[in-house]
């Protein structure tokens, strides 16, 4: 059975993949599926509780929560996937090159990552957002500036481990060029761990984006995002529970499914019983 197939072999893996797929589809089809426009507010219907008309109620401007939650999925998924794509690519290449060649480059990058790690992610991102100003691209940039460090560390560690193995020595013995050995022989063996971390980080970045939007320094208010929706609901928590609760549930289920998928992938690549030295990236909290 192939590795990918093994992910779907467990019911948990299948369920979480199905949930993620559903989110991606509904996000893509939001304009078709949503019963209202994302900004269409009916002031007569302010803070209406869930009903047949508005399944999840309305917010304080009379906007349909279901509609805005559907649209909010777009922001979360885009931020999560884009940030992971950027940070995984950058961090993996830098880490693999550093771990394979060592030397001055490796030492300098190592110092830089130590510095970056000393800053809590949230305050780093808030600071960057204060610096760059709100906006979608700025948010992805702010998250990426620090986010590559975890990929770098994992890729470097795995490469260090691989570089000691016989096949690397063998490829050197037959006179293969070093870059070719790194990118053709070593890197493919590093990628399983990276793919697990990538999956888990998508959920992490989503929560981080939501936290920033909740604090008002993430996605600008004119775009529906779960974090800012939850923040808006804070003021009316005592009279309208649904405003904060619904987007929060949407976020929780998606992040949970992504984390489960990451753990299934982990199991598929590195069953607990075998393989020495496979780094085990784990789900982490936003701090």
């Amino acid at each position: 059975m192939s590795r990918a197939a093994r992910v779907f072999a467990t019911p948990l893996g299948r369920i979480s993949a199905a949930i993620v797929a559903t989110y991606v589809l509904t996000a893509a089809l939001a304009p078709v599926l949503a019963p209202y426009g994302p900004e269409a507010g009916d002031l007569a219907q302010r803070l209406a509780p869930p009903s047949a008309q508005h399944w999840f109620g309305t917010d304080s401007l009379g906007r349909d929560i279901l509609t805005r939650t559907l649209y909010g999925a777009r922001v979360s998924l885009l931020v999560g996937v884009l940030t992971v794509a950027i940070t995984a690519a950058f961090g993996t290449v830098i880490g693999a090159v550093g771990g394979f060649y060592r030397g001055a480059f490796d030492a300098v990058v190592g110092r830089v990552t130590e510095l970056l790690l000393a800053f809590p992610y949230l305050i780093f991102a808030i600071g960057m957002m204060a610096f760059l100003g709100p906006g979608f691209a700025n948010l992805v940039a702010a998250l990426s500036l620090k986010g590559w460090v975890e990929f770098y560390r994992l890729a470097r560690g795995e490469t260090l481990d691989q570089a000691q193995r016989e096949y690397v020595e063998a490829s050197r013995a037959i006179g293969q060029r070093r870059p070719r050995t790194l990118f053709r022989e070593v890197l493919p063996n590093v990628l399983p761990a990276i793919s697990v971390l990538s999956t888990l980080r998508i959920g992490y970045f989503m929560v981080l984006e939501a936290s920033l939007s909740f604090l008002g320094v993430g996605i600008p208010p004119n775009i529906p995002a779960w974090g800012s929706m939850i923040s808006e609901g804070r003021g009316v928590l005592f009279i309208a529970w649904w405003v904060s609760t619904i987007p929060g549930i949407a976020l929780l289920i998606l992040v949970l499914a992504i984390n489960l998928l990451g753990e299934s992938l982990q199991e598929a690549y590195a069953p607990r019983t075998k393989r020495r030295g496979f780094a085990r990236p784990s789900v982490s909290k936003v701090r």
Partner: protein, 335 residues
């Protein structure tokens, strides 16, 4: 031998700490626009006042001189003056720190009380329905955004059950003299039991919110390391000697399983000491996290600069402490 290693580790933390201080310094200098004008916002001031503010902040001197002034101020414990609040930054941070420490201690306590028994039982009964429930519960806890969980807690305990207050450290009508800054201590010192009870109630929701989330992380760690230790030969030996099962688990296994749990707790402690911006904002808890968030919105960058540095230094310090404890707990680990 171990001492020199340790010394090496401490010394290697110095360049990181220095780098952090320099980065925090640059943060204020490289912000787009004139920091003084940004800080003053829409307040109308004369050119003369602007100039005097600028020289007060040493912004009229060369960058390297500014850096020198900043670093030497740090050594003397001088973090600068907040323009917005018109108070020394060190005082603002000192005022906020006890609230954050109080919350941190309560959080770690809640986390340990939940995670240790749950993690141990889960490992002992690995594979059972109980274990599976714990594992899924922990994953939910980790995946849950803390700010949203805080709002759910407010919905349950304040809106539905109406048993707990949702913001601040004490009822607004109560006045307690500030001696230590720790509300629980100050109310006791004042002999005001009623105020103590209120302060305790105010602490419950934020501490539960942070504590439950921390417990989710910790329980997984405890479970994993217990499972690993329980498979070791010396545990089998202890069982073969005829020791009671719980004696083996608690005396022989737990001690060695504690090391990873200690790491996680130590790092969490260091993180929380910097203040949790999200949860402190949700519960209007007047600690460091809220000070930073408010200062960012008020564009009070002198405060932000100091707080960023404090955060980073606490993190570096916590790492150092955890590493040190490691060698004390298990002499075979070398740094």
């Amino acid at each position: 031998m171990r001492l020199t290693k340790l010394l090496e580790r401490v010394l290697s933390a110095i360049p990181v700490a220095l780098g952090v201080a320099v980065l925090a310094f640059m943060f204020l200098r490289f912000l787009p626009g004139d920091p003084v004008e940004i800080m003053l916002g829409d307040t109308q001031v004369s050119q003369q006042q602007l100039d005097s503010l600028r020289s007060q902040l040493h912004l009229d001197k060369p960058l390297l001189t500014q850096l020198g002034i900043f670093l030497s101020g740090l050594l003397r414990g001088d973090l600068g003056v907040s323009i917005v609040k018109n108070a020394p930054v060190a005082k603002l941070i000192g005022d906020a720190l006890p609230a954050t420490i109080e919350l941190t201690l309560a959080t770690v306590l809640v986390g340990i009380l939940i995670a240790m028994p749950v993690g141990i039982i889960s490992a002992v009964r690995a594979g059972s329905w109980l274990d599976r429930t714990v594992l899924s519960g922990a994953l939910v806890g980790i995946s849950m955004p803390a700010f949203w969980f805080g709002l759910l807690m407010i919905l349950l305990f304040a809106v539905e059950l109406r048993v707990l207050p949702t913001s601040g450290r004490i009822a607004a009508t109560m006045v307690v003299d500030r001696t230590t800054g720790f509300m629980l201590v100050d109310t006791l010192l004042a002999g005001n039991l009623k105020a103590f009870g209120t302060a305790l109630k105010h602490l419950v929701l934020p501490a539960l919110t942070l504590g439950v989330v921390f417990a989710a992380v910790l329980a997984r760690v405890v479970r994993t390391s217990m499972l690993e230790v329980l498979g070791k030969d010396y545990v089998t030996t202890a069982r073969a000697k005829g020791l009671r099962e719980w004696g083996v688990i608690l005396k022989h296994a737990l001690r060695n399983a504690l090391i990873p749990a200690l790491t996680v707790t130590g790092l969490q402690f260091g993180e929380l000491l910097g203040g949790n911006m999200i949860v402190e904002t949700v519960f209007a808890w007047p600690g460091l996290g809220r000070l930073v968030v408010n200062s960012i919105f008020a564009r009070d960058y002198v405060v932000v600069q100091a707080a960023v540095m404090l955060y980073a230094l606490t993190y570096v310090g916590a790492n150092l402490v955890v590493d040190t404890l490691y060698t004390l707990l298990n002499p075979r680990i070398s740094l």
